[in-house]
C-alpha cells in the first residue's frame, strides 16, 4: 500500500508537470477544443465506473456505478465528437470554403 501510494504520487506529480508543459504550448486559437478534449480524456473515469456497475456487489453501488457510467459516456462520446467538429471548422485562407 505504501509503495503503491508512493508510485501514485510520483505519477501524479510527473503527469501534472508534463501536462503544464504540453498545454502551455497549445495555441490560444484552440483553447475551446482543448477544453472539450481534456474533458473527453478525463471521461476515462468510465473504467472505474464500469467495474463498480458490473461487480454488482450491492444495489446502491450498482445504481451509483450505472449512473456514473452514463455520465462518463456522455463526456466520452460528446467530448471527442464536438472536438472533432470544431477542429474541422478551422481552415487556412485560400483552402476551399
Amino acid at each position: 500500500m505504501i509503495a503503491d501510494l508512493e508510485t501514485g504520487l510520483y505519477v501524479f506529480v510527473l503527469a501534472t508537470f508534463l501536462g503544464l508543459e504540453i498545454i502551455r504550448r497549445v495555441s490560444p486559437l484552440l483553447h475551446t477544443p482543448l477544453m472539450s478534449l481534456t474533458n473527453a480524456i478525463s471521461a476515462i473515469t468510465v473504467v472505474g465506473a464500469i467495474i463498480v456497475a458490473g461487480e454488482q456487489k450491492t444495489t446502491l453501488s450498482t445504481v451509483l456505478g450505472t449512473v456514473a457510467v452514463a455520465c462518463s459516456t456522455i463526456n466520452l462520446v460528446g467530448g471527442y465528437l464536438i472536438t472533432w467538429r470544431m477542429l474541422r471548422m478551422f481552415r487556412k485562407s485560400g483552402k476551399g470554403t
Binding site: A15, L30, L34, I44, V52, I74, L76
Partner: protein
C-alpha cells in the same frame, strides 16, 4: 483468456495514457490537431474495451443500458451550435464531476470502515471536489443559458458564510478520514459540498465565466485524479492530472488577461461595483448610420474587427463572414483581434469565427493585434466593451485599471456597433465612445453588419 487480460490490462492502460499525452501534444497546432483527437479516442476505446473483459464484472446489463443512455445524450450535446459551447462545456464539467462523486460514494459504502487512511483521504477529496463541481457547474450552466440572473448575486457577509460552509465540509472530510466508520457523517458531507458549489457561483457575473469554467475544469480533473488514487489506477491519475493542469493553465491565462487574482474572481463580486458617478459632465458620443460605416470601410485599406460576446449573442458571425468576403474582394486587408477573455469561455470567439468559415490565420492574438492598430484605418468593434476600454490604461480609479486591452483607440477611425450606450457587464463607463475618432452605430450586431454588407454590395453593382 481472463488471465491474459489481467496481465495485459496494465499495458493497455499505459498505451492509453501515452495516447492522451500525444493527443494533447498534437493539439498545439491546427494542422496536427485532428490526428490528436483520433489517437486520443483510439486509446480511450482500447482502455474501455479491455476493462469490459475484466473477470470481476458479473453482468453487462446495466453497463449496456448506461452506454446507451450516455450515447443518446452525448451525441446531441456534441451537435449544439458553437454559440452554445460555453453552456455545453459547463454541463460536461458537471457530468464528469458527478461520475467521480458517484464512484467515490459507491466505494465508500463498499469499503468503509475497512479502508486505508490514505485511500479514504483521496476518496474524501474526490467526493468533496466532485460534489461541489457538480452544483457549481450547473449554476454556471444556468447563468450562461440565462436561466439564472447573470448579474452577480451578492450580500453582506457572503464570503464569511461561503468560507464557513467550505470549512465545515472540509472538517467533515477530515473526521471521515480519521473515523471512516462514522457513516452518518457522509451524507451531510456531500450536502455541504453541494451547497458550497451553489454559493460559490452566485456572486460571479457573466464576464468572469471564462475563468470560472477553466477553474471548474481543473476541479473536475483533480477529482478524477483523486479517483485514480482511490482505485489505485494510474491511468485515471494521469488523465485527471492532464485535465487538472489544463484547467489550471487556462484559469491563469484568463486571470492575467483581466489583471485579477483567483481570490478576486471568486470572492470579488465583480460587476457589482457600480461605477462611481463618473463626473456629472454630459459627454456626447457621435453616432452614425450603417451606410456611413460602409462608406468608411470602403475607403479603408486595413480593417481590424474586434469581436466580443455581443457578436455571439446576436449570432452575427455569418454576417461578419459576408462582410469579410466583400471587403477582402475589394482589396481591403481584414484581420480579427481576439482578446483572451472575449466571450464566455477561453477561445470562444475563435470557434465562432471558424464556424463561419473565416480562415484561422486571420485571427490575431492580443499582442500582435495591438501592434496592428496604429496602422489600421478602421477598428470595427462588434459587441465587445470592457476589453476595449482605454480607461484600463490611463484611469487609476477605474475598476479595470491595469487590465490588458485591445488598443482600438489607436486606429484612425473606430466604429463601435452596440445596442445602446448602457455600460458593459462591469458597469463601467467606456471613454472610448466619446473619442473624436469614434463613431457609434446603434443596433443589433447581426442587423447592423447585414446593413453594412447591403450598402457595400449596392455600391459594388453601380
Amino acid at each position: 483468456m481472463s488471465l491474459m487480460i489481467g496481465r495485459a490490462l496494465p499495458l493497455i492502460y499505459l498505451a492509453a495514457a501515452a495516447s492522451f499525452i500525444l493527443a494533447l501534444k498534437w493539439l498545439s497546432a491546427v494542422p496536427t490537431a485532428r490526428r490528436g483527437v483520433v489517437v486520443g479516442a483510439g486509446g480511450m476505446l482500447l482502455a474501455v474495451g479491455a476493462t469490459l473483459l475484466e473477470p470481476t464484472i458479473a453482468t453487462y446489463r446495466w453497463i449496456a443500458v448506461a452506454f446507451a443512455v450516455g450515447t443518446a445524450i452525448g451525441i446531441p450535446m456534441a451537435m449544439m451550435p458553437m454559440t452554445a459551447v460555453p453552456q455545453r462545456t459547463a454541463l460536461s464539467h458537471a457530468f464528469g464531476a458527478l461520475a467521480a462523486a458517484l464512484v467515490g460514494t459507491a466505494e465508500y459504502y463498499l469499503r468503509a470502515p475497512a479502508i486505508g487512511r490514505f485511500a479514504m483521504g483521496a476518496l474524501a477529496l474526490e467526493v468533496l471536489l466532485g460534489s461541489l463541481t457538480v452544483t457549481a457547474s450547473l449554476m454556471a450552466f444556468g447563468k450562461l443559458q440565462e436561466l439564472l440572473p447573470t448579474r452577480p448575486v451578492v450580500w453582506r457577509g457572503q464570503n464569511v458564510l461561503n468560507l464557513s460552509i467550505f470549512g465545515l465540509a472540509a472538517a467533515a472530510g477530515v473526521v471521515l478520514v480519521l473515523h471512516p466508520e462514522a457513516a452518518w457523517l457522509f451524507p451531510p458531507f456531500i450536502g455541504l459540498a453541494l451547497l458550497f458549489g451553489v454559493l460559490l457561483i452566485l456572486p460571479i457575473g457573466g464576464a468572469d465565466m471564462p475563468t470560472v469554467i477553466s477553474l471548474l475544469n481543473a476541479y473536475a480533473g483533480l477529482s478524477a485524479a483523486a479517483m485514480g488514487f482511490v482505485l489505485d489506477n494510474k491511468l485515471l491519475i494521469i488523465a485527471g492530472s492532464l485535465d487538472g493542469s489544463s484547467g489550471l493553465i487556462l484559469s491563469i491565462i484568463m486571470c492575467k488577461a483581466m489583471n485579477r487574482s483567483f481570490a478576486n474572481v471568486l470572492f470579488g463580486g465583480f460587476g457589482q461595483i457600480q461605477a462611481q458617478a463618473a463626473g456629472a459632465e454630459t459627454r456626447v458620443a457621435r453616432s452614425a448610420a450603417p451606410e456611413d460605416a460602409a462608406e468608411i470601410l470602403r475607403s479603408a485599406s486595413r480593417v481590424v474587427v474586434v469581436p466580443g460576446y455581443g457578436m455571439a449573442v446576436a449570432q452575427a458571425q455569418h454576417k461578419v463572414r459576408e462582410l469579410y468576403d466583400i471587403l477582402t474582394k475589394a482589396g481591403v486587408t481584414v484581420t480579427f483581434a481576439i482578446h483572451p477573455v472575449a466571450g464566455r469561455m477561453p477561445g470562444h470567439m475563435n470557434v465562432l469565427l471558424a464556424e463561419a468559415n473565416i480562415p484561422y490565420d486571420k485571427l490575431v492574438e492580443m499582442d500582435d493585434a495591438n501592434a496592428e492598430f496604429p496602422q489600421a484605418d478602421v477598428a470595427l468593434v462588434l459587441g465587445a466593451n470592457d476589453v476595449t476600454n482605454p480607461a484600463a490604461r490611463s484611469d487609476k480609479g477605474s475598476p479595470i485599471y491595469g487590465m490588458p486591452i485591445l488598443d482600438v483607440d489607436k486606429s484612425r477611425t473606430v466604429l463601435v456597433v452596440k445596442r445602446s450606450m448602457s455600460p458593459g457587464f462591469a458597469g463601467i463607463d467606456n471613454p472610448l465612445y466619446y473619442l473624436d475618432n469614434t463613431l457609434m452605430i446603434f443596433g443589433d450586431a447581426k442587423a447592423v453588419v447585414g446593413e453594412i454588407v447591403k450598402a457595400l454590395a449596392a455600391e459594388g453593382t453601380h
